[in-house]
């Protein structure tokens, strides 16, 4: 190793150390940020409710404990027996909202993960190879981004038929170009950076530069995007379900469909719209708050 090579190597180490410090600094900042903490608490609440739904819910989601109490003109609202009231079929609204959290979390996490994996694969391909691969991938991404997300999700969900799986796939596909573009941008920026040039001048192979240096350093913005994507995925899933593209089984409690079903009763039983709606807001707000603050903590550009 010549002197300049050693210098280059130490420099690349220093840059990565600096990145590590930045991450620690971000973490420290985040732990003191009330918005991030509230966001985290909302998420924790949402996830706990989803995981413990069968234990927490007083009734099964499709049980109809209040069937006899429902008349066309009277849907009982919140009471001591049924905290969130009853729905139009005499089911316990609280139990349905609690069980709905499961669907929501499942759809959100799975579609985010699928979209992220797909997007990262495309992004790594484009960013690592460049040239023709890059242009082809980016043209595909451009076309996908040229269709508004909700419209594309509707088209895909319509294609696959109404089911939870098709909702997940639809939302995942919508998120693929977002992650692909993000990661490619990150990789391009890093490819020109000093420490990558240093590693390349030392003759480190491309694969180990990509997987050993560039990817780990691109991970922070991906985590931020993933958190924010969870929020939009939950809202998009609710929207698809609201439009009748959710699960084909009407007994499955989905927040979006619960809202759609209540449209006729809005004047007489507003509680049926309020609780599932608030549930969506709580879940989406949690991820939005944490995601935004995470972004600010990691990237000084977004601070203030």
């Amino acid at each position: 190793m010549s002197l300049s090579e050693i210098e280059a190597a130490t420099e690349s180490e220093q840059v990565e150390q600096a990145a590590g410090n930045l991450r620690r600094e971000a973490w420290r900042r985040l732990r003191r940020d009330p918005v991030a903490i509230v966001g985290f608490c909302l998420i924790a609440f949402f996830v706990l409710v989803a995981l413990l739904a069968p234990l927490l819910a007083p009734y099964a989601p499709d049980a109809q404990p209040g069937r006899g109490m429902i008349t066309p003109t009277n849907i009982p609202g919140p009471s001591a027996q049924h905290w969130f009231g009853l729905d139009a079929s005499g089911r316990d609204e609280l139990s349905r909202v609690i069980h709905g959290a499961r669907q929501s979390l499942l759809v959100g996490v799975v579609s985010m993960l699928l979209g992220m994996i797909g997007g990262l694969t495309l992004g790594v391909l484009a960013g690592a190879f460049g040239g023709t691969v890059d242009s082809v991938v980016m043209r595909i991404v451009d076309v996908m981004l040229s269709i508004p997300g909700l419209l594309m999700a509707i088209a895909i969900a319509a294609l696959l038929g109404a089911s939870l799986t098709s909702v997940m796939i639809a939302i995942a596909i919508v998120n693929v170009p977002v992650f692909a573009r993000l990661l490619r941008g990150q990789m391009l920026a890093q490819r020109g950076s000093d420490y990558v040039l240093a590693a390349r001048s030392l003759g480190v192979r491309r694969r180990s530069i990509v997987f050993g240096h560039i990817l780990p350093n691109s991970i922070s913005p991906v985590i931020v995007q993933a958190t924010l994507t969870l929020a939009t995925a939950i809202i998009e899933a609710a929207a698809l379900s609201f439009l009748g593209l959710g699960s084909a089984d009407p007994r499955v409690p989905e927040w979006g469909r619960m809202l759609a079903d209540t449209q006729r009763y809005l004047a007489s039983a507003p509680h049926l719209a309020l609780f599932p709606g608030l549930a969506i807001v709580v879940a989406a707000l949690g991820f939005t708050m944490l995601g935004e603050r995470l972004r600010e903590a990691i990237d000084p550009k977004y601070r203030r």
């Binding site: 918005v35 043209r139 595909i140 451009d142 076309v143 040229s146 269709i147 508004p148 997300g149 909700l150 419209l151 509707i154 088209a155 319509a158 294609l159 038929g161 929020a231 809202i235 609710a238 929207a239 609201f242 439009l243 009748g244 593209l245 979006g256 809202l259 759609a260 449209q263 809005l266 004047a267 507003p270 719209a273 709606g277 969506i280 807001v281 989406a284 707000l285 939005t288 708050m289 935004e292 977004y302 203030r304």
Partner: protein, 334 residues
């Protein structure tokens, strides 16, 4: 500048091509194929064969694609399976409604968003700032259809300030030369009809404009915060210029550049967002029609509408790029 526009126009070609391929494949990938899709679920094998013959679906794929593209270029998307009228005709009926709604939503979002974002930044850390920051976080987390419900329940059902649904009072006797009801009223001298249409627009527009509003507030605020710390603003202060000159010429002219981009992006998204708003308010526009097309599996309608909306989205983005070039001299030369 002309070169810049031409280059942007050329970039459209591959995107529109990709879009057409995507939708072509989409319709053919539908369960049961396009004939089944057109006929609905109770189609017999016989009628499927007839439809395939009629639409040339038994021809090679490249002939089919060519026919599809040449028809699309002539804005011929076939007939709606549900209403049995040409899709283009349905577009002419529904698009003005949604354009009117989208414009109203945008006016609402920009009219409130930019001043709010600006003052939030100037009063950094104040209650106004905190309010607008939390409001913009909440704005993106509240689903449009839920917000629409809340607005409808509070302002229509409870308070009775606004009508609960529709574009106008059915008892209103009005002519509609353009399909933009507010404008129609003014054109035909029927101001009562204009007012009626406007009142019907308010709640759907607020619901539809909520997300653009949240985003515009946030971007304006962040952008103004960035710009007020720029050296050239300090230079302007050092010249002793009046505060309003500094605000207008040096702060806003720079701070609004990213806002313009965001407004364009959001404007393009309003048509798809309308699907969720119009259904709640039974607002007879593109969104309501697409919603019905989904529930009746009217694929010809979906295909045509998706293609047109996506193309509009692309064109709006192009216009944003070009207007960006007009206001930022640095982009023009590149």
């Amino acid at each position: 500048m002309l070169k810049f526009v031409i280059r942007r126009l050329l970039l459209l070609v591959p995107i529109l091509f990709g879009l057409s391929v995507l939708l072509f494949v989409w319709l053919r990938a539908l369960p049961g194929g396009p004939a089944q899709a057109l006929l609905g679920e109770r189609a017999t094998a016989d009628s499927v064969a007839r439809i395939e013959e009629l639409y040339g679906l038994n021809e090679p794929w490249y002939v089919q694609y060519w026919k599809f593209v040449s028809a699309a270029v002539q804005l011929d998307f076939g007939n709606s399976a549900h209403t049995n009228r040409p899709v283009t005709e349905e577009m002419l009926r529904t698009f003005p409604a949604t354009i009117e709604l989208a414009v109203a939503a945008l006016v609402f979002a920009i009219g409130i968003g930019i001043p709010l974002g600006y003052f939030a930044a100037r009063k950094y850390g104040s209650w106004l700032d905190n309010l607008s920051v939390s409001g913009s976080l909440l704005g993106v987390a509240v689903p449009v259809f839920f917000l629409a419900y809340i607005l409808k329940y509070v302002f229509s059902v409870r308070l009775g300030w606004f009508p609960t649904h529709g574009r106008d009072d059915p008892r209103m006797d009005a002519e509609h030369p353009t399909g933009l009801y507010v404008l129609d009223g003014i054109l035909t001298g029927n101001l009562e009809a204009s007012w009626d249409a406007l009142v019907h627009l308010v709640l759907p527009a607020v619901a539809l404009g909520s997300i653009p509003l949240a985003i515009i507030v946030r971007i304006t605020r962040a952008s103004v915060l960035d710009v007020v710390h720029e050296d050239y603003v300090r230079t302007a202060e050092a010249k002793g210029l009046w505060e309003r000159t500094i605000t207008r010429r040096h702060v806003l002219r720079n701070a609004l550049l990213p806002v313009v981009t965001v407004i364009g992006l959001q404007a393009g998204l309003l048509f798809s967002g309308a699907i969720l708003t119009e259904t709640v308010f039974a607002f007879d526009g593109v969104g309501q029609f697409i919603y019905e097309a989904i529930s009746t599996r009217d694929y010809a309608v979906l295909q045509g509408f998706i293609l047109v909306i996506a193309a509009m989205y692309v064109v709006v983005n192009l216009l944003v790029d070009v207007s960006y070039g007009l206001i930022d001299p640095r982009v023009r030369v590149r």
